[in-house]
């Protein structure tokens, strides 16, 4: 399943393409305000960028770029980030997940909500990326326990 693919064409194409797929994923996450996409789709693209080297490249190389421990770590960090953003408005008198209640000096509430959306998208992207990587590593028997 995993490990170096015998055909050099496949190896080179995947090695060249996977960083761009991951980069497109980051673009989709960051660009959710203006176009289709957001955390879910972007996180999946980044995960594909991490899984493609595992399928085609030498194992030592692929697992050094994205180690198996990265999956649960990213999923947990993303989930925690989301919960943190959700809880912060409670301390300034707002409702759960009401980013607009947070006041930042020199910034109108709409701008704060804009930033809140951005943080949520990043958190969702991290969580989805981690979850997909963890599932793949589990199925291929490479997850650490």
């Amino acid at each position: 399943m995993t490990g170096a693919y015998p055909s050099e064409v496949v190896r080179v194409i995947c090695a060249v393409a996977s960083p761009f797929i991951a980069l497109f994923g980051l673009y989709v996450i960051a660009h959710g305000h203006y176009g289709p996409g957001g955390g879910f789709a972007g996180g999946v693209f980044v995960a594909v960028g991490a899984i493609l080297p595992r399928l085609t490249l030498d194992e030592r190389l692929a697992y050094r770029i994205f180690p198996p421990a990265l999956g649960p770590l990213a999923a947990g960090v993303g989930m925690l980030l989301f919960l943190l953003v959700a809880v912060v408005p409670l301390f300034v008198g707002g409702a759960f997940l009401d980013y607009g209640a947070v006041t930042i000096a020199g910034m109108e509430p709409a701008r704060v909500r804009y930033l809140g959306i951005l943080v949520v998208e990043i958190a969702v992207g991290l969580a989805v990326f981690g979850a997909m990587l963890l599932i793949f590593d589990t199925i291929t028997g490479r997850s650490e326990r």
Partner: protein, 210 residues
């Protein structure tokens, strides 16, 4: 949307779904399921639901296929045919009844794009009118998903993370027991056939690769 294209896509969609159920080779079934997701994504795009189409194309047509193939390589490639003929007597009437119920219910649905539909008279109008001013986000879908309805998104993210953690807890092998025996994810539960097939399935996968 273009009506002839929609009809063609729907026919292809149903054909891939039926074929995926009928083929015995699970690898072919996975490829057909990916094709199904791709056609579904095209249909979503035709309805201008680009956010859904992007997720369907990335997740349904892309990553799910990879995960299924990984699962096939870890287990077996051939599906066992169901031998009990009495299953049909139960299953087919159930399916017919369910489809009939859905078709009956669909006659009550409002037309596509009907401005008086209940979905368009409630809070949706407020979102569309005010989201740009309130959140500075031109994409209404993102504003709804990550701001107005962010609790739903929180729940969805929680579901995905929980699913990954559960899969890891159930399937992951400890390092000490994974050395000698190749790919027996769980003792028992799968039955003797599955544990016999598991190493063979992995070997076959290796041969195809070469």
């Amino acid at each position: 949307m273009i009506v002839p294209l929609d009809i063609l896509l729907f026919i292809t969609l149903i054909a891939t779904a039926i074929l995926a159920l009928h083929v015995k080779d699970l690898l072919a079934a996975t490829a057909l399921l990916s094709a199904y997701s791709l056609f579904a994504a095209l249909l979503f795009a035709g309805l201008s639901a680009l956010d859904v189409a992007l997720v369907e194309a990335a997740l349904g047509a892309g990553l799910t296929g990879v995960l299924f193939i990984a699962a096939i390589l870890a287990t077996t490639r051939h599906s066992e045919p169901r031998t009990d003929p009495r299953r049909r007597l139960v299953v087919i009437p159930l399916i017919v009844a369910f489809v009939g119920l859905m078709l009956y219910a669909s006659t009550d649905l409002p037309d596509r794009g009907d401005p008086d539909a209940p979905a368009h008279t409630g809070v949706a109008t407020e979102y569309i009118e005010r989201s740009l001013a309130e959140t500075q986000t031109p994409n209404v879908v993102t504003a709804i998903l990550a701001d107005y309805r962010s609790q739903d998104t929180l729940g969805e993210t929680l579901v995905i993370v929980t699913a990954a953690l559960s899969a890891s807890l159930v399937l992951a092998r400890r390092r000490d027991e994974g050395e000698g025996t190749e790919a027996t994810p769980a003792d028992g539960g799968l039955g003797p056939d599955a544990s016999d097939d598991a190493p063979g399935g992995r070997d076959r996968g290796g041969e195809e690769r070469r």
